[in-house]
Every structure is written in C-alpha cells, then in structure tokens.
C-alpha cells in the first residue's frame, strides 16, 4: 500500500457506507480495555470535564468549611492548622485542579469539532495528559487525606514553606504534586498549539478560527513559557527541603523573593490562561443566542493575544509590598492599568453583540450574559489594585479575595456552566432541562453576589486574608455572616447544576444535531458525533460555515458533505499554519496502553521521591523508561520505521 503521505486523497460524498467503514477504523474497542487505552479526544475531553467537576465539588466543600469557621468572630470549629490546610487545599484545588483542567476538557472535546479535524494532533499525548492530571490530583489529595495537605496557601511563600518552619510532608506533597501536574499541563499545551496550527480543515485560515481556539491557543503558548518557571520553583523548594540546598533560604545565601518572582512569573499569566478560553466560550456562544456574528471578531481575537502579551509584564503587581524600587513599581503599575484595555474590548464587543442582536434568553445565554457583569466587577477591582499606593492598602485583605473570586467564578465558572448548557447536547446527545436551568442560574447568580459583593466591604474594612478567626470588635462579623449565607446559596446553585447534568444525561430530551442554530462546524455533526467526527474532511469558506446562507449570498460556500474521505486507514489531513492549505495525509495512532502506563510509572516515581525510597525511585525511573520505549518504539504503520520512498 502506498504510504499515506504520498497518496492523493480520494474525494467523495458523506454516505452511510463510508461512515460504516470509518466507524470500524476509528471506534474504540468496547469494554474495560477500550476504556483504558482510548485516545479519542471526545472521550478524553469528557473525562477531563467530569474529573474537574468532581474536584470543583471537593474544593467547594472545603470552601464551605472555611466559611462556617469565619461565619462569626472567635469561632472554634476548626483549629488554625486545619484552617490553613483547608484554605490552601481550596485554592490549590480550584486554581490548579479545576479551572484549568475543565477548560482543557472542553477544548479537548471541542477543538477538533470546531476545526473540522478528526482528532487532536497527538492523541496519545492527549490521553497521557489526562492520566497525569488524574495522577497529580490523586497524589495531592492523598496528602490531604493523610493530614499532609499543603498549608501555606496556593502561592506557598518561602521561608514558611521551608522545612525549618514546616517540617511535615505537607509541602513535599505540594511541591512534587505540582511538578507532576506541570508535566500534564505542558504536554497538553504543546498538543493544543500544534493542533491549532496543523489540524484545521482546509480553508479554515487563521482569521476564521472561533474565539475559543484563540483563547486556548493563547493560553497554551503562555503555559509552555511559564509552567517551567513554576515547576522549577517547586523542584528547587523540594531540594531545599530534602537536600539542604539554599535556593530560597537566606541563611545559605538564598533569596525568598526569588520564589515570589518565579511563582508570579507563572502565576499571573496562569490567571489569563484560566480565563481566556472561558472568554472564548462566551465569544462563541453568546452570538448564537443573539442571532448574529460576534461584533469586532478581529479586535476580540487580537485583544486575546494582547492580553497575554501584556500579562507577561504584570507579575510584580502581586509583589508591590515587598520593598522593590519605586521605578519598577511604577512600570508594573502602568502595565497593570493598561492591561484593562484589551479586556474592555471584549466587554464592549459582547455588549454590542447583545444590543445589535436579537437575544434569546436560554439558560446558556443567561450564564454568558451574567458573566459580562461579573467580569466587569472583577475587572475594575483588579484595576484598583493596579494602582500601587492603593494596593498597599488593598493587598492581602479580603478585597483581593473578593476580586479573585469575581475573576475565577465570574470568568471561569459562569462561562463553563453556560458552556455546559450550550454544548451538553453535542457531548451527550441530550438536552439539559431549561426549567431547572433557570433555578440553577438564579440561585448561582444571586447566591454568588450575595456572598461576594459584601466581601469587598470586608476588605475595605481591613480584614486580612488567611486568618483563621477574628475578634468581634473589628466590625466584620455581620458582613462575614452574610458572605457565609451567600456562599451556601451559591453552593446550592452549583448543586442544582450537577443535579441537572445527572438528570439530563440519563433522561434528557434527545438532542438534534443543531439545537441552537449555531454557526460553527460542530453543529453540522450528529449529537453526539461519531468517533471519526467528520465522515469527509470539510472545506471551509468563511468564519461562520453554518450561517453562510443567512449572512451573505455572494461568497463561496463551505462544503461539509463532500470532501476527502481518507477511509483506508486511521487517517486525517494536516494543513498549513496560516492559510490552512492541505499539506499531507497523516496516519493517526491507534488506541494504546502506553499513555496510561507512562502515567502510572510517573505516579510510582513521584510517590517514591516523596518518601525518598531509593530502590523504589530506581524502579519508578526504570518503569518510566520502559513506558517511554513502548510508546516511542517505531511503528511501520505510522511511517516511523521506513523512510518514505521517492
């Protein structure tokens, strides 16, 4: 048989016979074997989403425990030790184990469908990325369950995290867990970047990408740059703790501020990484319910990228009180004020889309629209902290806690829940309950604002972050009680969401292919899509392939039902990075044990490192090596063993 790369692909129609052939090639084996070995991006995406939602629930329960302890002054429901572990676990869970992975899940599921591709660029890497994420989550929660959860907040400042002040295993769990998680994030990001540039359907030039693609692509590029910084920081911390190095210990010539620079160099871009894809969801979802294309597509796409570029230059605004020289403070202050501009572009674009469209008030629309307001509230409070002298008062108070919850819940959770209502039919083939959806929305929206708007005031009244209790005479008691009540109301809202998901997944109304009248490619596919996504590779002629009739009659049309069949093997086509001109046919890997085995081997290695069991470390390293060899062993089917002729 001619190697795929050298063949001229056959063009054909989307027929049932073709679909049957493709199904046989692409479907994952049934049963437990298929479950462990699948590399189907849709399966992996759903796993990511479900795992992230489980962690959202865990982090939420931790938050409720914290809120009970803070409901009134001088309460003793928790000891300071428990409180510190709980708030650290809550932050770590929400920021690292929920908000980024849930977006990876949606992007994993949706990207190939949006791009007109049959899978991600590296399907096995994709599976590996999920398994390592799961391993890291289990690793970190093992620490928590054995009483060794992180206890120094999610940003984990040294020297308190050093062994001298923190002798337990808590920080070792955190340090190694974060290095492990960093592997998952980094390989996932690489996969997204290559997928965005190589796996698009012919004709989907760079100016036709949905904004979700721009968001996740930008976030992924940023992750590739900054995740190494934090992995390094945690690795150095572990060396300090276990081998007596002095990277961060002043006694040995180290610098506590080095930790803060490495952490925030990562930490601030990370904040954008966990909101830009969610903003992309709104930019793509909201217009469908406004019955018009997004206003200012190019500006919104560019502002996504601009946010991240500026986002690399603002990390010091987390460190305004550390005694840095005034000149660098003014630079970072200026950059932090300027970064509001690209965010404002997105806000005005969404507002204009609603105002010039014909809004349809579905539950998804309500979540997307509410996100705009929450985004603005979280944005302006961030703008306040950008002003250095003001920040010297605001920083490390509950004002910042309120701010970051508006950012993370407003710009991550609300869009994600909206996106679930929007794409649930595509993921599961069933509609979510709209009536329960209204209850879900209003409970979450009102509960959240009841809980977190007054929190700004608690901050302005001077309550510091991370205190396990507070005296009655500080004037914070009533507001804290309101916040606790609001948090519980919000939690009930999230519970309603989970109930709706569970109920609709089992017995929701069956979904048509395109329940909302969407504009992008995924709505051209059945709900849920077939394992191969597209029976024929579509050819794209505009930004809104499904709205071409309605928008303009003069341009050439996208073709979705006729194109390259690529049905002689597990194949798809790659295209050029900017114009998406077909490039070559590529063989895609079949289901494989290698990703799971490598993840398990890494898990063993990291547990051994944690316990410093040298024999087990050697064994773990050998297992990793073995799994890598299994993975990388050249396969003739993937053209890895013989050079192509000619």
């Amino acid at each position: 048989m001619t190697p795929a790369a050298l063949r001229v692909p056959a063009i054909g129609d989307d027929t049932p016979e073709l679909r049957a052939r493709l199904h046989a090639i692409w479907a994952t084996a049934p049963g437990w074997k298929g479950w462990f070995t699948t590399v189907d991006h849709k399966e992996i995406g759903i796993r990511y989403i479900v795992t992230a939602f489980v962690l959202l629930a865990l982090g939420g329960v931790e938050a409720l425990a914290i809120r009970l302890q803070l409901a009134g002054p001088d309460l003793r429901l928790m000891t300071p030790e428990q409180f510190n572990i709980f708030f650290s676990m809550h932050g770590m869970t929400m920021i690292f184990l929920y908000s980024s992975p849930v977006l990876s899940g949606f992007s994993n599921y949706l990207w190939p469908l949006l791009l007109g591709a049959r899978d991600m660029a590296f399907p096995r890497l994709n599976a590996f990325s999920y398994w390592v994420y799961l391993a890291a989550a289990l690793f970190l929660y093992t620490g928590f369950l054995t009483g060794n959860g992180p206890n120094d907040g999610w940003f984990n400042y040294v020297p308190y995290a050093e062994r001298q002040y923190n002798p337990g295993l808590n920080q070792d769990f955190y340090a190694l867990g974060m290095v492990l998680l960093g592997i998952s994030t980094a390989v996932g990001a690489a996969n997204f970047v290559v997928t965005a540039f190589k796996m698009r359907a012919p004709g989907m030039s760079i100016d036709r990408l949905p904004i979700l693609i721009w968001g996740t692509l930008t976030a992924s590029v940023a992750n590739l740059v900054v995740v190494p910084a934090v992995s390094l920081a945690f690795f150095l911390l572990w060396l300090d703790r276990q081998f007596g190095t002095s990277f961060f210990r002043p006694a040995g010539g180290g610098q506590p501020l080095l930790w803060q620079h490495l952490f925030w160099l990562f930490g601030h871009p990370w904040v954008y990484a966990i909101v830009l894809p969610a903003m992309g969801m709104v930019s793509d979802g909201l217009p469908v319910f406004c019955r018009r294309p997004l206003v200012g597509y190019s500006l919104v796409a560019l502002s996504t990228v601009a946010t991240m570029i500026l986002g690399f230059g603002v990390w010091v605004h987390h460190m305004f009180a550390t005694g840095l020289p005034g000149l660098s403070l003014s630079f970072f202050s200026g950059a932090s004020i300027v970064i509001t501009v690209p965010s404002a572009v997105a806000v005005f674009a969404w507002l204009a889309t609603i105002w010039t469209g014909r809004p349809v008030r579905s539950t998804a629309f309500l979540f997307f629209a509410a996100m705009i307001l929450l985004f603005v509230i979280g944005g302006v409070s961030g703008f306040m902290t950008a002003s250095v002298p003001v920040d010297w008062q605001l920083t490390d108070t509950y004002f910042v806690v309120a701010h970051l919850h508006y950012v993370l819940i407003g710009i991550n959770v609300f869009p994600v829940v909206g996106a679930t209502y929007f794409w649930f039919p595509k993921l599961t083939g069933r509609m979510m309950d709209e009536r329960l959806g209204r209850w879900n929305f209003w409970t979450m929206f009102l509960g959240f604002n009841l809980g977190f708007l007054p929190m700004h005031l608690i901050g302005l009244f001077g309550m510091p972050r991370r205190v396990w209790t507070y005296p009655a005479e500080m004037g914070w008691s009533a507001l804290n009680m309101i916040t606790t009540i609001g948090s519980f109301a919000f939690a009930i809202g999230v519970l309603l969401f989970f109930v709706n998901v569970a109920k609709s997944w089992r017995a929701g109304a069956l979904a048509p292919a395109d329940p909302w009248g969407g504009s992008t490619l995924e709505w051209a596919l059945p709900s849920p899509p077939a394992p191969y996504n597209f029976a024929v590779i579509p050819t794209i002629a505009s930004r809104h392939p499904l709205w071409e009739e309605a928008l303009d009659e003069n341009t050439p049309r996208s073709t979705i039902t006729r194109g390259m069949m690529l049905d002689t093997g597990k194949e798809t086509v790659t295209t050029t990075p900017l114009d998406a001109i077909p490039d070559r046919i590529v063989e895609m890997p079949c289901d494989s044990w290698a990703p799971l085995l490598l993840a398990v081997a890494l898990g063993i290695l990291f547990v051994a490192l944690l316990l410093k069991l040298w024999l087990a470390i050697a064994l773990g390293a050998l297992l990793v090596l073995g799994a890598l060899i299994l993975w990388l062993w050249p396969q003739r089917r993937l053209l890895e063993r013989e050079p192509a002729h000619g």
Binding site: V295, Y297, L329, S330, T353, V380, E473, A550
Partner: protein, 316 residues
C-alpha cells in the same frame, strides 16, 4: 457603628491620607462602570427583540463596532487620570522621609513584633514589643527586618503594607496627625497564628511621648515583697530563656521584652486585654487563647502562678 479599626477609607496621618482620595476615586470609577454595564445588560435583556429559536440571523459583521470605539474612548479618560494620579501619589508616599524624627527597627516574628527604638546615643536606645509609641506630627522611619518567615507591617490608618523579608531590610514610614491608638496587623500569611499577630501604634502629643520614652529607658525595679521575689525566681527559671527584663537577669530575645509589660494595653500581640485575669490565663495556657503560639503552656501551681503575677504587675 464605630469605624472599623483596620479600615482604610479614612486616615489619621499624612502618609495614609495621601492615598485615601485616590482610593475613593478608583472606587467611585469602579462602581460607576459596574452600574453602567449592569444597566446596559438589563436593558438589552429585558426587551429581547427575538422570541424563540431559530430566529433569522442579523447580518453584518461590522455592525456594532462603534460600541468598541466609543467604549474605549470613554474608558481612556479615567484610566489616564488614574495613571497620572497613581504616579503622583506614589511620589508623595513612597520614599522614606529624609530626616525622620524617630527611627524604629521592627522585627516581626511568629507571632509578635519586636520594636527597637534607635538613637544616636546608645543610652537612649531601648527595646519593646507589640506597642509602638510615636509623637503626633513626627515622621517615623521604620526599618523592617526579617526575623523568621515573611510578615507584613500594616497600620491602615497611618500607612499601607510593607513586607518584612528575611535577608533584606525594607524601609517604610508613618506619621499620625491626631493622638490615638491605631491598630496594626500582620498582613502576610506567616503560619498558624497569622490571625493573632496584631499590634498598636499609640500616637501622643510630643510631651507625653517624651514622658513615655523616658519611662521605657528605666530598668525594672527589684521586687520588694516576698511574693514578688518568689515570682521573680519562677520567672527566672520558666521564662527568662526567651523573655528579657532589663534590670533582672532575664535576657532572652526570642520573645517580647517584658521590662515595661504593664505599660501596654494589650498582651499576646494584640490578642488579650492586659488585665491580671487574662495575664493569668495567658501565662498558664497560651495555647488556649492563641493556639499555635510558640509560647509553651507553663506547668505552674496556683501558688506559683499567683507569685508570678505579683511579680509581673510590678513591671510598669
């Protein structure tokens, strides 16, 4: 309701005062922006022009771009004002005063504040803890030294936060216009009792401050009564390896200097009122009121505790 002790929307000294109007300005801008967006959203949603799906598509990609244009133009003004005002305020409050009236070396430790009063003449220097006295109208330079982990020095009514970081010395300053007691608080998470790591700044008229300063320079008088003498011996054996009492043989430096313990309004770093009752409870079982504090519970009999208190209350 009285003003919250750690609130910073009001101020009591020139450094904090330079920030208050800017804080109100950015707060007002923020509230207005939120309200405008909320109204625009509500107005758009309450009167939907569409009914149900699928509705015809509204054509035209460029339709609505004016929103972005005018939105950015309108946003630019408050942003520029904020930027300029921020730089101006920063210039006023950032630098430490050239010729401060008073220089303090503050070393925060888990979970209390060591305060050294610097002076040209070594005989005028002294150490105290958790209560800082200053004269009204005086600019006070504070040199922050890292003791163990990172802490942050914050007196909202007088000054914003500055971290104390091991391995470096950070400078900050404060000044009070009005006599009064201003609460300070550790503002960087530092461990189990980060919550109960407060202090007070007492601003008094220059004459009163001078009287206080002279009193602080005194060493502790020798105990006179039998009970106080017994108490001093117990103090020597139980407390002196950490605490110092100038004039006695106690010279520990890992816990607050107690030479003038009874001159302070609060004990345990702003946690308890300085009464005989709470002092007794604190000495006997610090972990009960401040779990996680590094001071161990003292195994004292009732008699020993009584003697010790008799001694402690002589430390005026």
């Amino acid at each position: 309701m009285s003003a919250p002790p750690l609130g910073y929307l009001t101020s009591a000294g020139e450094r904090a005062a330079a920030i208050v109007p800017l804080t109100w300005f950015v707060l007002a801008v923020s509230v207005i922006v939120c309200m405008v967006v909320a109204v625009l959203l509500l107005a758009a949603i309450v009167h939907p022009r569409g009914r149900a799906l699928p509705t015809a598509i509204v054509a035209g990609d460029d339709h609505g771009l004016a929103w972005i244009k005018w939105g950015l133009v309108l946003s630019a003004l408050p942003l520029i004002v904020t930027l300029v005002w921020t730089m101006a305020a920063l210039g006023r409050v950032a630098g430490p005063p050239r010729s401060p009236a008073l220089v303090l070396d503050v070393t925060p430790r888990q979970y209390w504040w060591e305060v050294r009063y610097d002076a040209r003449d070594p005989a005028d220097r002294f150490v105290t803890a958790n209560e800082i006295h200053i004269a009204t109208g005086a600019r006070v330079l504070v040199r922050l030294h890292g003791g163990d982990v990172i802490h942050s020095f914050w007196v909202p009514q007088l000054s914003g936060k500055t971290d104390a970081i091991p391995g470096q010395t950070n400078l900050t300053w404060l000044a009070a216009d009005v006599p009064g007691r201003y609460r300070g608080q550790c503002a960087e998470f530092c461990g189990l009792e980060h919550a109960k790591m407060a202090f007070e700044v007492v601003a008094e008229p220059p004459a009163a401050f001078e009287r206080w300063r002279r009193a602080q320079l005194q060493t502790a008088p020798p105990p006179s009564s039998d009970a106080a003498q017994r108490g001093a011996r117990i103090f020597q054996s139980h407390c002196a390896s950490c605490h110092a009492v100038r004039g006695a043989r106690a010279a520990g430096s890992t816990a607050p200097d107690l030479t003038h313990l009874m001159s302070r309004r609060l004990i345990a770093a702003g946690t308890l009122p300085n009464t005989r009752g709470s002092l007794a409870g604190w000495v006997r079982a610090p972990q009960a009121s401040k779990p996680g504090a590094l001071m161990p519970d003292q195994q004292l009999t009732g008699q020993q505790l009584g003697d010790m208190l008799t001694y402690l209350v002589t430390l005026k």
